[in-house]
Symmetry: C2
Subunit: 226 residues, 2 copies
């Protein structure tokens, strides 16, 4: 997402966008924890249950980290999360995984798209908030594990490919719908504006095109048609 | 449970009981994590969701700690857990909390009764296994928080008392049934024998009487009739 130049924001707008981004990340990480750990019970083996549980615990660690930042700015974490409860809950309700593989895929796709979206929002924000986004959303060891585990499953059972490709497209669609809803909420408007948008293209069109492109690249890396 | 004198075990019996106890604790902690974190979603407020999530993450930390010990003894964690899967799953299936308060109560009662049971099994085992039991099952900050949160809820809504008292009795009954099943499995027989049992009382009668007594004391501390 480095291609998009950072917007110039006044202090009040930046501070407001920073707190809103933290609230968004906190609620996303908390619900990712809850959903992943619930899904863990339906894993094929105890080893797989533990793997998903560990992933969930990792997301909870992110939640705690973001809440620290919110609190250090004198804000109330629940107040910061509140504006995002409805759209994130809706995203989860519309993307209930049917089995363990769909859970893995959901974690992989939603974590990645969300991460790209947060990076885009954070372009014009303080370096410490940009650092937090990197910390929380880095394509780290956990995401690498997800990628490898999915690759392994696809190699073992090629029939899985068409099902997971379809599921991946659905996940992307739902994630973009909610990202749009969040972008339209007015909480990030100035932080999300790009020069291309100002030049008259579809508002946020450049950003959303990039989210789709990054997703396609990740699906291709799994040998799936995005 | 200090009143019961430790049995004298031969090395092979002790080593077998130690590994079995670790397997039992590991699977209990893993499932406690899964169930608590699933329950968290139905908490009344985000703060309460986070509290239950944190409790769940704490149980997962115990799981990881016990698995370390199993692995350090050259055993396979899933093999050690396997004998306990059916009875612990049955316990959870028979004690699905109806709401957040019942989740809290379940964590409080089952953690405590399990802790007492593990202490009883561990009497004749190696000091490092006894230390692990203390570490995992200690009535620590988390359990103290559960107690205080339940007290607070009961003070706010006295009608909760009769419902939670009934629920507490049901939890105790189910926990004892599964403890009996585990005791009868033959994996811990010698480790659980006491002099009183040998003196002709109901096998394990002394132990089970103590489990009930400790439970009653905890319920009384909450102002509930056990």
């Amino acid at each position: 997402m480095t291609e998009l130049p950072p917007p110039t924001l006044d202090d009040a707008t930046r501070a407001r966008a920073e707190l809103a981004l933290c609230g968004l990340m906190a609620y996303r990480e908390l619900t990712a924890f809850e959903r992943l750990s619930s899904d863990a019970r339906f894993s094929p083996t105890i080893i797989d249950r533990v793997a998903l549980a560990r992933l969930a615990v990792h997301e909870f660690g992110h939640y705690e980290r973001v809440v620290e930042v919110i609190t250090s700015r004198g804000a109330e974490p629940t107040d910061s999360m509140e504006p995002f409860v409805a759209s994130i809950d809706a995203l989860h309700d519309r993307t209930r995984p049917g089995d363990w593989y769909e859970s893995l895929m959901k974690a992989h796709v939603i974590d990645s798209v969300s991460g790209d979206f947060y990076v885009a929002i954070s372009r014009g924000l303080d370096p410490d908030v940009r650092g937090l986004v990197q910390e929380v959303q880095a394509l780290d060891a956990q995401n690498q594990w997800l990628h490898e585990r999915l690759q392994e499953a696809l190699a073992e059972d090629p029939r899985l490919a068409s099902r997971l490709a379809l599921w991946g497209r659905r996940l992307l669609g739902e994630a973009l719908t909610q990202a749009r809803r969040i972008a339209d909420s007015g909480l990030f408007n100035d932080a999300l504006i790009t020069e291309a948008d100002e030049a008259g293209e579809e508002p946020l069109g450049v950003l959303f095109a990039q989210l789709v492109e990054n997703h396609s690249r990740r699906m291709a890396a799994l040998g799936l048609t995005a």
